[in-house]
């Protein structure tokens, strides 16, 4: 990776570019959130932008773009797979109910009626 001064100054230019991109994308995130596409749509758009920003930070600021260490890539790859398992398998499990499984202990929750005034 970066060894000489010339390399570093080249880097510095890319840091500034990334900074500009991140600032713009932050504004875009906020701006886009003011529109309502659909419940899922907004989540997808927000996560795509966040993912893009994260990729910029990881690849340029954290130098992953220049990273050649296979150990680091393997570790991150494993981490990514298990992260996805951790994120989705519990939700998938919670949503795969056999027939006639219902949520809620009581038939009537009076709190629903009461909560109007709060």
């Amino acid at each position: 990776m970066a060894g000489s001064h010339a390399d570093i100054s080249k880097h510095v230019r890319s840091y500034m570019a990334v900074f500009a991109a991140l600032a713009v994308l932050t504004i875009v995130t906020v701006a886009v959130a003011q529109f309502h596409f659909s419940d899922v749509g907004n989540v997808v758009v927000a996560l795509i932008i966040a993912g893009f920003k994260a990729t910029l930070v990881a690849s340029i600021f954290m130098h992953l773009k220049w990273e050649k260490s296979i150990s680091i890539w393997w570790s991150l790859g494993l981490c990514g797979i298990f992260f996805l398992a951790l994120l989705f398998l519990p939700v998938l499990t919670a949503n795969d109910h056999p027939p006639q499984v219902h949520m809620g202990t009581w038939d009537v929750t009076h709190q629903v009626a009461k909560s109007g005034g709060h």
Binding site: Q100, H102, M103, G104, T105, D107, T109
Partner: protein
């Protein structure tokens, strides 16, 4: 000895004190039922009936206990097959293992042979194990599980008996819909530990004839659907003789079904640690013939009009 045990149970926290109180109330209730046949508030007791000293039917251990259900044999069969498989594999390994220990023990004149052995049998063994596990999974486990989970009779099935099982520290409440077959609406606000432990709306026509019992009485040869609920922590509804076990997860209603085929007196156990007195959270299950069962239901839901809660 027994006295000591009871003393400890009494010391086991507020819930157990509660239980002692309930025991007294139960005694009062029994007296009411027998002496003043139409005493009010006879229903809706969080009954903690006597569970000690009742003769339990069936054979228990050292292998699987009596199977009193129509479908329990399926899981039993799987357990049998798996154990035979395990024993075969273990004995096979064991023979080879012992042979090696004896044949290749260190002794004068013997030397290790470092040559790589081409152990084809081990590859076959591993493939065999994999195939057999696939058979266990696809041939037994998945179909049985699918039936256990998916074949719940629908709510309006006239041939099924439907009850709710509400677990709490440390008692089982069995909520029967009564002759009308409809459950009264429950709500937290109506809960009264003395008169209405499940918060049933007694003014609602559906709820007037509901029965809350501390013992589980069921007719034989009928498919039973139990909706498992919990008021407080996680419990587990375990009927060893029916091969039924279902966690009672607070905030969820999960149905289980089974068909008793042998009349008798059995046990309902809690199989998930639920607090200090978890061990004592037992109820008695009576599997009766239809006539006795109907008579019990009728007796339990007598005078709804006199209810004043």
């Amino acid at each position: 000895m027994k006295r000591l045990g009871r003393q400890i149970r009494r010391a086991g926290g507020r819930a157990s004190l509660n239980k002692v109180g309930m025991g007294l109330r139960w005694a009062a209730l029994v007296a009411c039922v027998f002496l003043f046949a139409d005493a009010p508030s006879a229903m809706g007791q969080a009954a903690a009936p006597q569970t000690e000293g009742i003769k339990i039917d069936g054979h228990y251990g050292p292998y699987l206990p009596t199977d009193a259900s129509k479908d329990g044999y399926r899981a039993d069969q799987l357990i049998d097959v798996v154990h035979w498989f395990m024993i075969a594999l273990f004995v096979g390994w064991g023979i080879f293992f012992t042979y090696c220990l004896v044949k290749f023990r260190a002794r004068p004149g013997h030397r290790a042979n470092p040559e790589h052995i081409k152990a084809k049998p081990s590859k076959y063994l591993e493939i065999g194990v994999a195939i057999f596990e696939a058979v266990l999974l696809l041939g037994w486990s998945i179909p049985i599980w699918a039936s256990v989970k998916n074949d719940v009779p629908p709510p309006n099935d006239p041939h099924a008996v439907r009850i709710r099982v509400v677990a709490e520290q440390f008692a089982w409440n069995f909520h029967y819909p009564g002759p009308d077959g409809k459950f009264g609406k429950t709500a937290v606000e109506r809960i009264n530990t003395a008169t209405n432990p499940l918060g049933i709306d007694r003014n609602d026509p559906d709820g007037k004839d509901d029965i809350v019992s501390g013992e589980l009485r069921l007719p034989v040869n009928k498919t039973i659907v139990c909706e498992i609920l919990s008021k407080d922590v996680i419990h587990s509804f375990f009927l060893p003789v029916m091969r039924v076990k279902q966690d009672a997860i607070p905030g969820m209603r999960i149905p289980v079904w089974f068909t008793p085929v042998k009349t008798g007196t059995y046990e309902v156990a809690c199989a998930q640690l639920c607090g200090n007195n978890h061990y004592s959270m037992k109820a008695i299950m009576y599997i009766q013939n239809q006539t006795d069962y109907d008579a019990w239901i009728l007796e339990k839901c007598k005078p709804p009009e006199e209810f004043d809660g």
